[in-house]
């Protein structure tokens, strides 16, 4: 019985420019990429176009990037493409296509006095990493499960073997903590 290729084999297909590279990648990670895209972009066509962008990005970049973790690389690229498209949609006031979901939840964490800041807020990545570093593994997983992997509360609960109420409570606490962290860093 045919099995999916391992990541190294897939990367090798990209390196050799094989036609089957994208189909193997899609077979293995397509559903996860699609879920991320659809979590960010409510419009199915937008999500499909975003996926195409991500596949194209993979085709162009994987040979040179030689990603250590192919899955994370692909999901990161999908997130990048989806948020880029979302920005465009918002700029074009295609607000009807914006889904109310976890990306908006993060806005609760932005301290009021930082809302007017430039988008090019240098050091934000480092602040987030600093915040994550000081969390326990489970809390990091819950935070990233919600805001990076964009899983629903129910999905996180199921995956971690916790009840939904527990995850909701943790997220509530983590958002408050994150907001405080951003305030503190600013101060």
């Amino acid at each position: 019985m045919e099995e999916a290729l391992n990541d190294n084999q897939i990367v090798e297909l990209f390196r050799s420019g094989s036609d089957s590279a994208l189909s193997e990648l899609q077979k293995k990670y397509g559903a996860q990429m699609k879920r991320i895209a659809e979590s960010i972009l409510a419009d199915r066509r937008d999500a499909e176009e975003c996926l195409n962008d991500a596949y194209m990005g993979a085709w162009k970049n994987i040979p040179a990037a030689d990603p250590e973790n192919l899955k994370a690389y692909l999901l990161r690229m999908t997130r990048y493409c989806a948020f880029k498209r979302l920005r465009t949609n918002l700029a074009q006031k295609r607000g009807g296509h914006v889904q109310t979901m976890s990306y908006e939840e993060l806005s609760e964490c932005i301290p009021d006095h930082r809302r007017a800041e430039s988008e090019q807020d240098s050091g934000l990545k480092e602040q987030i990493e600093d915040f994550l570093r000081n969390l326990s593994e489970e809390k990091r997983t819950i935070f990233l499960g919600r805001f990076w992997f964009l899983y629903s509360v129910a999905e996180i609960a199921q995956r971690l073997g916790r009840d939904e109420k527990y995850i909701s409570n943790q997220l509530y606490y983590l958002k408050k903590l994150f907001r405080k962290h951003l305030e503190r860093k600013e101060g």
Partner: protein, 334 residues
């Protein structure tokens, strides 16, 4: 700055965070959709992923099963009692290993009282002296005092095996306890692995318990290769606390489990009304692409099997299972 800026920055964070979270969150749904096997050990990952999700669902549902479990009186086996099984099981008793690893966490004494060992699953019973005004059984509501527990096997070779870990709080004799389950893929034998379990409270008091396993767990794989309605039941894998039925077909299918027959002729059904059990052993659907249609159906042997129309669940020693009935056809396996 807006939430998109935060997400952009989040997208750039160090890959080690993503890897760690992905590992913890690894589960089935996406793999199910792709129909692809994935990951570290050839074709096993999809099975692993399915297993992890099902067991995770099982634990989630365990909380919902409080009414049943909590109503049980104190029985010979308090571990089985947690699962709502009243019969004492000698086979299981042999799997209970007393640990008595104790530590103080703030003002609360924590102890890994014992572990119940299976080949690739370990159930750790962790006690605290935190008093609860609750009946014995799973806790429905979040407790004011709670612990964060993380446990795993420390393999000599740095392999990244998918691992399901989960804690469920329960009340025993007026005290807060946790059942912590560590489960690896069925190719892993935890019998002689080093284990570690970290317990942390909300005030960041933390303690790490460590031990090295020294047990030999039994397990059995029975090759079946029996076709029923176009579905081939390929094999059945048993360990002390679990039965997994593997099947495949050329197209999408649903594997319907009817009953098992024991060596004395007793027929036992799986109780689908029990949340834990219906989730754990619920309808297994074959999914995949082309010839990849495969399904696995998981059953806990700890509870859920009972005679027709009975709620007297039994622990089932797997050696006693003579036949299984799938999609209406009884298949003799011994």
């Amino acid at each position: 700055m807006n939430s998109l800026d935060l997400h952009d920055a989040l997208n750039e964070i160090d890959g080690s965070f993503i890897k760690e979270a992905d590992r913890a969150l690894s589960s089935s749904p996406d793999c199910e959709k792709t129909g692809a096997t994935q990951g570290f050990r050839g074709g096993r990952t999809r099975r692993k992923a399915i297993r992890i999700a099902l067991i995770a669902a099982c634990l989630t549902a365990l909380l919902a099963g409080t009414v049943v479990a909590g109503a049980k009186a104190l029985k010979e086996s308090r571990f089985l009692e947690l699962f709502g099984t009243k019969e004492h099981a000698r086979e299981l008793e042999e799997a209970v290993i007393t640990k008595d690893l104790t530590a103080k966490l703030g003002n609360v004494t924590i102890a890994v009282e014992d572990i119940v060992v299976d080949k690739h699953i370990i159930y750790a019973e962790i006690s605290t002296d935190y008093a609860l005004d609750e009946p014995d059984g799973w806790l429905q509501e979040a407790c004011e005092y709670s612990l964060e527990i993380t446990g795993e096997a420390v393999f000599a070779v740095d392999e990244k095996y998918a691992c399901f870990r989960g804690a469920s709080p329960f009340c025993r004799d007026g005290k807060l306890w946790y059942l912590y389950v560590i489960e690896y893929v069925d190719g892993i034998d935890l019998g002689h692995e080093k284990m570690q379990l970290t317990v942390e409270d909300a005030e960041n008091h933390k303690v790490k318990f460590e031990w090295v396993n020294n047990y030999t767990a039994k397990s059995e794989v029975i090759t079946v290769n029996h076709e029923v309605d176009g579905i081939t039941v390929t094999d059945i894998r048993f360990s002390l606390t679990e039965m997994v039925i593997y099947a495949k077909a050329e197209q999408e299918f649903t594997l319907s489990f009817d009953y098992i027959r024991l060596d004395d002729g007793t027929v036992l059904y799986y109780d689908e009304n029990n949340g834990m059990l219906s989730r754990m052993g619920g309808s297994a659907k074959g999914s995949g692409v082309g010839e990849r249609m495969e399904a696995r159906k998981f059953f806990t042997l700890l509870s859920g099997f009972a005679e027709k129309d009975s709620k007297e669940w039994q622990f089932v020693p797997y050696e006693r299972i003579q036949s299984i009935c799938i999609n209406g056809e009884e298949i003799r396996i011994r």
